[in-house]
Symmetry: C2
Subunit: 353 residues, 2 copies
């Protein structure tokens, strides 16, 4: 099989540095014989890292970039002054068509801003969104999709409806769910709860779900406790709430891992117990490992962009690359664009009739 899916990678800007990114590229290259890379960053740093990995030498093109966008830089500053950065070059490579998808561990706000500038919003989309995979308790797919988790800090009713449409495409093509169950995140499941935008979005989604062509089942409001529920596949919220929920869950999982470690070291008996249960505890650790479900996807742009966690190590970067590859290969971006445009046309004709 020829290596014909090209992924554009920003090797700079994450918390863990280029060696973690190169490590992730190696992991993915070992498991995937269709992938090629164009990697962006400081050539003096990248070339030695890449040349000593035989898995990468023949399938990686290095493109030098002078600058790195720091994690703390304001998006507006990055847009004005980021032209020579590795992040900019990574996205421009997708814009030009040299690569099918982009991956970066860098500053989320800057990545979103430069993505919008270079790839532009898909027709009809006002607010693109970041979607993440959330491990669930045993639904039809191993993950739920949650969006927006931080592309924008607010969302109006029509944005929430678009998030639902885009998230449902992701669920159909990425998780192979024929008719994904969509829920709106709220402070209660009763009809009267929550903000006006949520009420309005709920009415619109009820209407939308009646159309069999939409291939969406609307399950109404869901709560924070339903993030991992098997009764919902796509959870829609504004980017502020989604970001807080995601980070709260990550923090809680990390806290419990710490408690578990302490508990198992507490007495000689529990240490013996831990020895016996080692394989099972490792399996649990793996299930709780946020790096394995790493990779947020930007939805609603004219191009596929995967945001890897800023503190991702090689395992995390590899998961993000795998996701970018899958999206590129399935023509995912085109499907999202098409669905949103279709709905916009339909909503328009309904409001005129």
């Amino acid at each position: 099989m020829s290596r014909d899916i090209v992924i554009s990678i920003d090797a700079m800007g994450g918390d863990t540095g280029p060696s973690a990114v190169v490590g992730g590229m190696v992991k993915s290259a070992r498991k995937n014989n269709e992938i090629r890379y164009i990697v962006h960053g400081d050539e003096a740093v990248l070339r030695p890292l890449i040349e000593k990995r035989r898995e990468l030498i023949d399938i990686t093109e290095i493109r030098h970039a002078d600058d790195v966008i720091p994690m703390t830089e304001k998006p507006s500053h990055a847009m004005r002054h980021g032209k020579n950065s590795s992040m900019w070059a990574t996205l421009q490579t997708v814009e030009k068509g040299d690569a099918a998808a982009a991956v970066s561990c860098g500053n989320t706000g800057a990545l979103m801003a430069i993505s919008m500038l270079r790839l532009r919003k898909a027709p009809g989309v006002d607010r693109p969104a970041i979607a993440v995979l959330w491990p669930n308790k045993g639904g039809d797919a191993p993950h739920n999709i949650v969006l927006d988790v931080g592309a924008d800090i607010k969302a109006e009713a029509k944005d929430l409806v678009q998030y639902a449409i885009m998230g449902a495409v992701y669920a159909r093509q990425g998780l192979e769910l024929a008719r994904p169950k969509v829920g709106l995140l709220n402070v209660g499941t009763e009809d009267h709860k929550g903000r006006a935008a949520l009420q309005e979005a709920a009415r619109a989604l009820e209407e939308l779900a009646k159309d069999p062509e939409a291939k969406i089942e609307f399950v109404g409001f869901v709560e924070g406790s339903d993030m991992a529920s098997e009764d919902v596949d796509v959870i829609v919220t504004d980017g502020f709430t989604g970001n807080v929920a995601l980070k709260t869950a990550e923090g809680t999982a990390q806290q419990i891992r710490g408690f578990l470690r302490e508990a198992m070291e507490h007495t000689i008996f529990s240490r013996i117990g831990a020895l016996f249960a080692l394989t099972s505890l490792r399996r649990l650790q793996k299930r709780l490992d946020p790096r394995r479900v790493n990779g947020g996807v930007f939805l609603g742009l004219n191009g596929a962009v995967v945001k890897s966690h800023g503190s991702a190590d090689a395992t995390g970067v590899s998961a993000a690359i795998k996701l970018a590859f899958r999206l590129a290969k399935s023509g995912f971006t085109e499907s999202v664009t098409k669905r949103v445009a279709e709905h916009a046309t339909k909503a328009q004709s309904e409001s005129e009739s």
Copy 2:
């Protein structure tokens, strides 16, 4: 010691029913020889439950109420039609001064609405808040305080500042922290992140913290991953975000408990391991048990109201009663009212000068 702290309890309206409430009253009465109860609900149900518990007979007064406010009832409806409910009577008993604090497992929105109606907002408070205790990773106190977790679905800058002031009083009197560290929940810790109200509240809290009399340390913005951090004691947010974060954390903890159970049952070795580690695993279970940190507190009213989790069992109800007792005994409500009024006066005189 005489039993002179009276707690008014709504025995109806929770998901688990009056027997769980009575069970919680028994647990608390066994450990506390200063407490008395006035309990509200259907006397035909309550009397037999209470008369068979010798711990309760002499210290409990039953007051019959005809109605129960269902969990799904709208707050506005409960306010108009709830006069004969157990919840209403529970709060009226505090209003009249017959009891020092109220406890209910019922409908949060209705409890908030009727509390406001009967106890009224403290002078200067626009938006009362619900505060919960959040187990932390090992700070100066075993819990952080998070507010608002659902009294209101939005908060302006001045509300967030009041939440900080009220939460800090709770931390000083409830957790014995002399100068609590207060943080504002946001989507990033950088200064420029988040909504305008958060920016404005951050500036006001920076100013407030300069006053040594305020006894507050302002640590700036915190993220969802910091909810259990030892670097913050009081986490301030709007009620929508706080509610989602709380329920997301509860859901995540429950999910991990399920994974842990599965992992420990997976092989014969892990079962043997679990036997050896039984005590340690039970300790872990206890630490993760949301019922043990049960009890949200309504801040900013002329009276102490503790909202117990709707699905609380006897252990959960007992935790809520213990909290109500501690608040009543420490004159907590008066302190909150005083601090808020002081700050309002000060902010007023500053804006005039």
